[in-house]
Amino acid sequence: MGARLAAASGLNATLAWSGEALAAEAARADAMPARGALHGVPVAVKDNIVTVEQPSTCGSRILAGYVSPFNATVVERLRGAGALIACKTNLDEFAMGSSTEHSAYGRVLHPLDPERVPGGSSGGSAALVAAGVVPAALGSETGGSVRQPASFCGIVGIKPTYGRVSRYGLVAFGSSLDCVSVFGRTVSDAEGVLAVISGLDPLDPTTADRPPLEPQSPPASLAGTTIGIPREYFPADLHSGVKAACDSVIATMKELGAKVVDLSLPHAGYAVPTYYIIAPAEAAANLARFDGARYGARQPADGDVRALYRATRGKGFGAEVRRRILVGTYVLSAGYHDAYYNRAQAARARIAEDFTRAFASGVSYLFTPTTPTPAFKAGEKTDDPVAMYLADIFVCSANLAGLPALSIPIGRFEGLPVGGQLMAPPFAEAGMLAAAALLERHLDSTREVSP
């Protein structure tokens, strides 16, 4: 494990790991009285999920060296199942970004092309799985931060239903959207980890009291399954390679017996603007605690406590985090609250109703591209925040609606992976994963598509 992590160090995907810690993890798992479901399986953990053994920096200077006194619930559950916490992984600072270029600890490289980004914000976890260093990793999603990098890196990314997995120990970004999510080399790898970490947690009142997620074996066919194709996700100017890959998946679904129907999610176009009001509003409050008063890096300052805040937060946060705090503060401020935050909440409700209506009409799952393009080049969008935000145009609706969704690799264009997305009704992960496993078996995800 240590050798593989060392060999992958050029990706800059890991933040904290050591050979001794790995050995201790392995010894701990071996000493367990019974072999758990993930006995000896190394799992990498995004650095915004807190751990006692390693620092949890969230990719930020403001938490440089910060060590949590408690483990996240998901980390406790992984270890309880015998998994080894392999390392902490690099990310966009506080999970704010779509390329893992916004980390105080440097950008993460795409494993297939070092010029390109692995996607984000969970780019470190995605890169390690794609590079074959670990079979599975934890990431987190607020607006697609696992599915989008899974698509860019050619691996599986699953975002569960909001409330399926505890957020206790996930450093909050947009609390009503945040989900601990899972990367795997295969659907089965990711599903095994998701099954272990899911379930009610008394420490997180937003977790749902549902029966545990039981992995299902894939069905023989998709007979009786209706796949909806929302036309808003296939605009006329969709990238030709992405479109060709999706078309071939739709053909495979039909061959497997699925009924495929065209449908409309009329409020889909509001997803990105809605997301970029609600997520920053919540983030501005969630990140208020990083003030240098109690923990984290405190910048020296002369004067009153306000000078301390200004220096600590001004120097401790990167530009993208500062931008979102400013936006979030603005949209909640007196005089703008109704025009922005309240209207965004209303739009969010409409977006969710679109999905409710689609699933009520008899559709089992929705299929869309995960991203509008394959992985882009580093630096390509860093000067244009809106262009960067649009990389999440197909993924952030599921977060706004709280729905489970996943990305699986469906082909390659000019050597770069392309991902396809399935979205399902709340708590319908098991069926969605079974369908994805069947597709995985019938798709050659490394096949070059020709538009």
Partner: protein, 474 residues
């Protein structure tokens, strides 16, 4: 010109739970700084709040005691501001969907008699920590033991017309909340805090004057004093043709003056929004009705019941129900068999003196009832019983044992009584002659002499006839 004063109070009370609002830390008062803290109330990264059901129950109970409607759905909100004693950079409170609204209860106004006051809302929230400016020279220390302690904020309507009414409102509010078991309501321990809003306007005008807010008042007396000072300040301003500015003020108890707070302390855009970490608080109708059924009898009902059920005067019933523990004590003494009027007199007399000093009753209800019975049976005199009471309060003994030990049991033995009578007749021949020649009012004097000779131990019921028999020459 005559002026009308409008006052409304905002009261924060600490809900009487053992643990904090959103974590399991202790709420105990006076522990060393930063010892009752955990990741949740410290606001550590990744920690999440979990509501304390007992705090919700106590808040609902308080709301019902104040006549409020408890809503089946309410929402926790974040109130955002930066301060070192606010660990998360926001306070979890309730904003546009509070737990309860629309209460009313009666208070006794010195000027207007019984009046009804309204409660706009009662909601739950968490307390902040404490900034200590005097611990470390030149620096501010922060104690987060209070951070996350559950509070109910109670916003009263602008119904009060004088500082004295404000005080009466607080007294009645506190009594209701203590009765209902919602809060200890101790200003010394910070479990009751008051902010006061006040405006004045020319009498008869309907438009409201500009209000000011006096923050962090630390006793009911100071609420009244501060409001008097601010009323006078506003009236003087208006009479001189000036205008009142909407400001927050603090009251200096030493000088009796109010002064404006720095504007930075007072003006905030709190950017309230629903707390996404906490689902809406949903209470079933049954839960609310169960909570209502748990409410103990409230002061007004208890006062009426004590007056009619025990034949007490309205005044006595009012004194006995002024605090729940006093009323409980009275009923326990009565239940132990004591005559209710005697019990009331004892509690309002001897027992209250000790209670006011120590906050508790030193003699058990059964023993006080026993002492009352000894008086009723003539075994000890009323005067002697007071000595017995004082001894019992200190020694904890049984009333009869104490009376015997102190030699205060009245003597009925005819031989002993006759001996004292003989001594008195021998010592006062002139008074005896005058009595025998018709000056019968001297009987009182002679009886007093018998009591004196017996050192108060002679039972007057036996001594008087014995004396009369001897005087009549038998």
């Amino acid at each position: 010109m005559s002026w009308e004063t409008m006052i409304g109070l905002e009261v924060h009370v600490q809900l009487g739970t053992r643990s904090k609002m959103f974590c399991g830390c202790s709420t105990s008062f006076g522990d060393p700084p930063n010892t009752n803290v955990c990741p949740v109330c410290l606001g550590l990264p990744g920690a999440l709040p979990v509501p304390n059901e007992q705090a919700i129950r106590l808040a609902a109970r308080g709301a019902l005691a104040l006549g409020c409607t408890v809503h089946q759905r309410s929402i926790f909100a974040r109130k955002n501001y930066f301060y070192p004693d606010l660990p998360k950079g926001y306070q979890i409170t309730q904003f546009d969907r509070p737990l309860s609204t629309g209460g009313r209860f009666a208070i006794e106004s010195a000027e207007r008699g019984a009046i009804e006051v309204t409660i706009e809302r009662l909601h739950v929230e968490e307390d902040a920590g404490k900034s200590l400016h005097d611990r470390i020279p030149g620096k501010t220390a922060v104690d987060l033991n209070r951070a996350g302690v559950p509070l109910a904020e109670i916003v009263g309507g602008p119904d009060l017309r004088s500082p004295a009414e404000a005080r009466a409102y607080l007294t009645t509010l506190r009594r209701l909340l203590v009765y209902a078991g919602v809060s200890e309501c101790s200003m010394e321990k910070g479990s009751l805090r008051v902010d006061a809003n006040i405006s004045v306007r020319p009498a008869g005008r309907s438009a409201l004057g500009t209000k000011t807010e006096i923050k962090n008042l630390n006793s009911f007396a100071n609420v009244e004093r501060a409001l008097e000072a601010e009323r006078a300040r506003q009236q003087a301003l208006l009479e001189a043709g000036g205008t009142v500015e909407q400001v927050s003020l603090t009251f200096n108890a030493a000088t009796g003056q109010v002064r404006p707070m720095r504007s930075k302390e007072a003006s905030h855009d709190y950017r309230y929004f629903p707390d996404p970490d906490l689902p809406p608080l949903v209470l079933s109708r049954e839960w609310i009705e169960d909570t209502r059924a748990e409410l103990p009898e409230l002061p007004a009902a208890r006062r009426a019941r004590l007056a009619s059920g025990f034949g007490l005067t309205a005044y006595d019933a009012g004194v006995l129900t002024s605090e729940r523990v006093i009323a409980d004590y009275f009923e326990a003494v009565a239940a132990s068999g004591a005559d209710s009027k005697s019990a009331a007199n004892w509690i309002m007399g001897e027992a209250m003196t000790g209670f006011n000093e120590t906050g508790r009753f030193a003699v058990t209800p059964a023993r006080l009832a026993g002492l009352i019975a000894l008086v009723a049976e003539g075994i000890v005199s009323h005067q002697a019983a007071k000595k017995v009471y004082v001894d019992m309060a200190a020694s904890g003994g049984e009333p009869r044992d104490v009376a015997v030990r102190l030699g205060l049991v009245q003597v009925r033995d005819e031989g002993a009584l006759a001996g004292w009578v003989d001594e008195v007749i021998a010592a006062h021949p002139r008074e005896v002659d005058r009595y025998r020649s018709g000056e019968t009012k001297l009987l009182g004097f002679l009886t007093g002499q018998v009591m004196k000779r017996s050192q108060g131990k002679a039972d007057p019921k036996g001594a008087l006839p014995a004396l009369q028999r001897r005087l009549e020459g038998q």
